[in-house]
């Protein structure tokens, strides 16, 4: 079973209990305008180029099979991520985002350090991208990890109900985003309807898998009393809800877009201060925190 990932971060501290190894799977059906992992969007390999350190030596141009059509960032419009320029760049400012890997190889890599993470009360977290987009690969990896590893997932909840059910059955902890309860706003800022997401959120609320609701708090988009109240209303009766976490928008979110030669057009005012409101959750008897 093959999958594509774009990073394994070690010692992650915000992705579940203890210290964790976080696997970032590549590919996401959403296009959130605040996304800070743009290399996680496409399910294909991509060339990334750091904006600093280029000496204009021309090695990449020579190495690229499409070298006559390089744009000013040193990447052809129809780049197929062959990687020849990565090895040629003497400054090593180019890299390929994406690694094709089998579930077995990924599980082996994670298991090599599993005892360390277990000793801190941690484990493995799948993030992305959207893990539901590679549900079979993720589930196979989980199976190979065995029962001794604590498993968590960070998901948008945008996926087939059958896959989501399997996630709920296979993960020890689900961290799911609720970006907007208003379908129009959701469509506008993420490119998709929230219908599936809300359906899956209801399954999560009815189930017994421990879960955390996460709100990426975006200024002027969802930092409203209405949104917080609607989220609280939806999840307040869920027996397995641990807490609601709010993740305020960070100005550095746009940092990686230039590296992919993609424009960063957030569609909201990123300089606007965010409104955090934990009182609403307290009123519903829900624990909340700000990350």
């Amino acid at each position: 079973m093959n999958g594509i990932i774009f990073d394994i971060k070690e010692g992650a501290i915000h992705d579940g209990p203890g210290l964790r190894q976080t696997v970032f799977v590549k590919g996401c059906p959403l296009r959130c305008s605040w996304c800070h992992n743009p290399e996680g969007l496409s399910p294909r390999m991509e060339l990334m180029i750091s904006p600093n350190g280029c000496t204009c030596c021309g090695s990449c141009v020579k190495a690229c099979p499409k070298g006559d059509r390089l744009l000013n960032f040193g990447k052809p419009v129809d780049c197929d991520a062959c990687g020849l320029c990565v090895a040629a760049c003497p400054q090593r400012i180019r890299r390929l985002a994406g690694e094709a890997i089998t579930a077995g190889a990924l599980a082996d890599r994670l298991l090599a350090n599993a005892p360390y993470y277990a000793s801190t009360g941690g484990g493995v977290t799948f993030s992305g991208g959207e893990p539901l987009m590679q549900a079979a690969f993720v589930l196979e990896t989980l199976r190979l990890l065995g029962s001794g590893v604590h498993k968590a997932v960070e998901t948008s909840g945008y996926g087939a109900e059958a896959d989501f059910d399997q996630f709920m059955a296979s993960f020890d902890l689900v961290m799911m985003d609720l970006k907007s309860m208003d379908d129009d706003i959701h469509r506008h800022f993420t490119g998709v309807s929230n219908e599936r997401i809300l359906a899956n959120a209801k399954r999560l609320c009815a189930g017994s898998t421990p879960f955390i609701i996460r709100i990426p708090v975006i200024p002027g988009v969802n930092d409203t009393v209405e949104h917080y109240s609607a989220v609280a209303e939806l999840v307040s009766a869920a027996p397995a809800l641990l807490r609601v976490e709010m993740l305020p928008y960070h100005l550095t979110a746009g940092a990686k877009y230039a590296m992919l030669h993609k424009p960063y057009t957030p569609g909201f005012d990123p300089d606007c201060p965010v409104h955090i409101n934990q009182d609403i959750f307290a009123q519903y008897g829900i624990r909340s925190c700000v990350l």
Partner: protein
């Protein structure tokens, strides 16, 4: 923090308003000229210098303060004229400035007794020595009496001034101390201030504080139990006390501002296996957390039973960006010190010197920073001279080990005929020194020397690259590599990139790399084994760098890890500055592998963590978990920095906006804007990890 403490901090540390009361600087050598004309010997000079310095101080009381003594005279004169110093240096090895420094005295030898008691003992002993015809010893003790008298005079002048100014509390305190033993925690703090003040006046420096939470604990406990003090009032006293370390510290000698050695060690295992971490240890952490000052520098002894809460409190302190606490692992350090021959009572009582060298209070005249070995130079020399003719990697590795051995021998040879200036006041707080009439500068119970080891990651990375590319896949020829190294990779961008960025690096938990580190560090430990110094002590191998990471880098040609000629080495025990690493856990795993009980002179693994990693309680808890895990894996010493590269870059551009930005340099914390640019740049270059 109370309003009073806030105002004192504003006055002494931020406004430095007391600086205006200082005398003019004087010619450092004028007194020595006078000494020379009078034909005084070194001991007479050391004594007279100190008594004159004390006599010259005039009392200064500042509003709101309750612990007094502020230095007015900025100049500690040299004992010898320049010509005399040159002559001494032609026949003797002088360590640094020649003065006794970087040791941990046993304050309780005076603090728990009071000067009067000690004075009468000294007088009796002096008479006994005189009677026995041992005039030198009698004279020595008599000089110590003179020093105590001068110190008492100074404190009397403060007392009289306090009375004149109607500062009854201060006057009462000085009626008791230093003449009589303190009865309360505040009196003990004032007594310490007096002793420490005198040490600096006497020209001794890197005057470490030691296990403050242990020797002051009885005073603390008694006051709490008797209801004379609450935890809150104790914290206020402690905070004022901590402020005293920042009053005159700009006058203390050091390589850079901040390098003054005022280190404190908290907690630690007792010989019976119990943990000495107590309420006062915790209050010290809290005081430091509230004050956010570079002094005193906090060290924390931990063991496998240390509760996570202690690490959490430590991590909250790290979050302040002070660069401490620095953690020391009793499970490694104590066995190491026992193996070095320290008695259990001393091994369990260890503290740190100015930076991180493990020393013992009151009994050690160790010189843990007497020299240094450069792993990087040992590697570079082997590559330059022997790679060509070497047929396999093991032979090259052997050549490196031989070079390490050679450097150890050179270090051992270079420290013959050591001369240290007498320190009659410090000797009063060193075991056996004054009873025997023998100055501590001549030695104490332990007289071991320590050698730092720099550039381990550079050496290991270069060798790992050679093993992989030259002897392994043979993608680089020996000639190609040697040629590139000679020419500092000129026009070899491709080769440079491969070695610099693609090659395996120490800090990635890669067994193919880390085994080289184990081998080189074992070789260092093996090489010092059996070497005895002229004072009968041993040599201890260490993982620190002090400023050698700068010195050893300057003349080092290009290395096979893709490092340019002259490019910096990492400070202390750390990954290479440009290594691309998987993350902090791999670093901890790699650096826990070497046999650190054999290289336990001191020198921490240093990790730079982005300050956003500390943004909430949950995150701090996890930083604490990470620190604990390094200790559980067998790490010896760890020091974390919460840093932000952007802040530092801005501080270089706009120093005025960042007066209070504190950074860790090599074994001490300082104000970023007060450092030379060379040090600033190095800190900016260090890796910064975000989780």
């Amino acid at each position: 923090m109370t309003e009073r403490i806030r105002q004192l901090k504003q006055f002494f540390v931020i406004d430095k308003a007391h600086h205006a009361t200082r005398f003019q600087s004087q010619d450092e050598y004028a007194l020595a000229e006078h000494f020379k004309q009078k034909g005084l010997n070194d001991l007479e000079r050391a004594t007279q210098r100190l008594t004159l310095m004390m006599a010259a101080e005039t009392p200064l009381l500042f509003p709101l303060e309750r612990i007094v003594l502020t230095r007015r005279n900025p100049t500690v004169p040299s004992l010898f004229t320049k010509a005399e110093l040159d002559r001494i240096k032609s026949t003797h090895k002088l360590h640094e400035r020649g003065e006794v420094c970087n040791i941990s005295v046993d304050y309780t030898m005076l603090l728990n007794r009071g000067l009067r008691d000690r004075r009468s003992e000294l007088t009796i002993s002096a008479a006994a020595f005189a009677k026995a015809g041992e005039k030198d010893k009698a004279d020595y003790l008599t000089m110590q009496v003179e020093i105590l008298d001068a110190l008492q005079d100074l404190c009397n002048r403060y007392r009289e001034q306090a009375i004149r100014e109607g500062r009854q509390e201060i006057a009462d305190m000085l009626t008791r101390v230093p003449m009589l033993a303190p009865r309360t925690f505040p009196e003990a703090l004032q007594m310490f201030r007096i002793l420490h003040f005198a040490m600096w006046l006497g020209g001794n420096y890197h005057n470490t504080v030691g296990r403050l939470d242990q020797y002051l604990y009885p005073y603390y406990r008694a006051d709490i139990d008797a209801g004379r003090m609450t935890k809150e009032s104790a914290l206020e006293w402690l905070e004022e006390f901590f402020l005293t370390f920042n009053r005159d510290s700009d006058l203390y000698p050091g390589m850079q501002q901040g390098d003054n050695g005022q280190s404190i060690m908290l907690g630690g295992l007792n010989t019976d296996g119990s943990d000495s971490y107590n309420e006062l240890s915790e209050l010290c952490l809290k005081a430091s957390l509230e004050l956010c000052l570079i002094d005193p520098k906090i060290n924390l002894r931990v063991n496998h039973n240390t509760p996570l809460d202690v690490y959490v409190l430590g991590s909250e302190l790290t979050k302040q960006g002070l660069g401490f606490p620095q953690y020391a692992n009793d499970e490694i350090v104590i066995p190491a010190l026992l193996a070095y021959g320290y008695e259990p009572r001393d091994a369990y009582n260890y503290t740190v010197a100015a930076c991180w060298e493990f020393i013992v209070p009151g009994r050690g005249m160790d010189i843990p920073n007497i020299g240094a070995v450069s792993f990087a130079a040992a590697m570079q020399k082997a590559v330059a001279e022997q790679l060509e003719s070497t047929t396999n990697f093991d032979a090259l590795l052997t050549a490196v080990k031989n070079n390490i051995h050679q450097q150890v021998l050179e270090n051992v040879k270079a420290v013959q005929n050591l001369y240290i200036f007498p320190a009659p006041f410090l000797s009063l707080m060193m075991d056996g020194c004054s009873d025997s009439g023998r100055d501590v500068s001549l030695g104490c119970r332990y007289n071991n020397y320590g050698l730092h080891g720099t550039g381990i990651a550079t050496a290991v990375d270069a060798l790992a690259a050679i093993r992989k590319y030259v002897f392994g896949d043979q993608s680089i020829t020996k000639t190609e590599l040697l040629h590139a190294l000679e020419r500092d990779y000129a026009e070899q961008d491709g080769l440079l990139a491969k070695l610099r960025f693609d090659a395996p690096k120490m800090g990635n938990n890669d067994p193919e790399v880390d085994d080289i580190a184990v081998a080189l560090m074992d070789a260092f430990a093996d090489s010092v084994q059996g070497q005895i110094n002229e004072r009968g002590g041993i040599f201890r191998a260490g993982t620190g760098s002090a400023m050698y990471y700068v010195w050893h880098a300057a003349n080092l040609p290009a290395t096979a890890d893709g490092r340019h000629a002259g490019e910096g080495l990492a400070a202390n025990y750390s990954p290479s500055l440009f290594a691309r690493l998987k993350g902090p856990i791999s670093i901890l795993q790699s650096f826990a592998k070497p046999h650190l009980t054999r290289l336990c002179n001191g020198g921490p693994l240093t990790l730079e963590l982005h300050d956003t990693m500390f943004r909430n309680e949950q995150a701090i808890q996890k930083v604490a978990l990470m620190v604990k895990s390094f200790m559980d894996m067998g790490g010896h010493q760890l020091q974390l920095n919460a840093v932000n590269r952007d802040t530092m870059l801005d501080a270089q551009r706009n120093p005025k906006d960042h007066r209070n930005l504190i950074v860790r340099v090599w074994g001490w914390s300082g104000y970023f804007v007060e450092l030379d640019k060379e040090y600033q740049d190095h800190i900016i270059k260090r890796m910064e990890l975000a989780l």
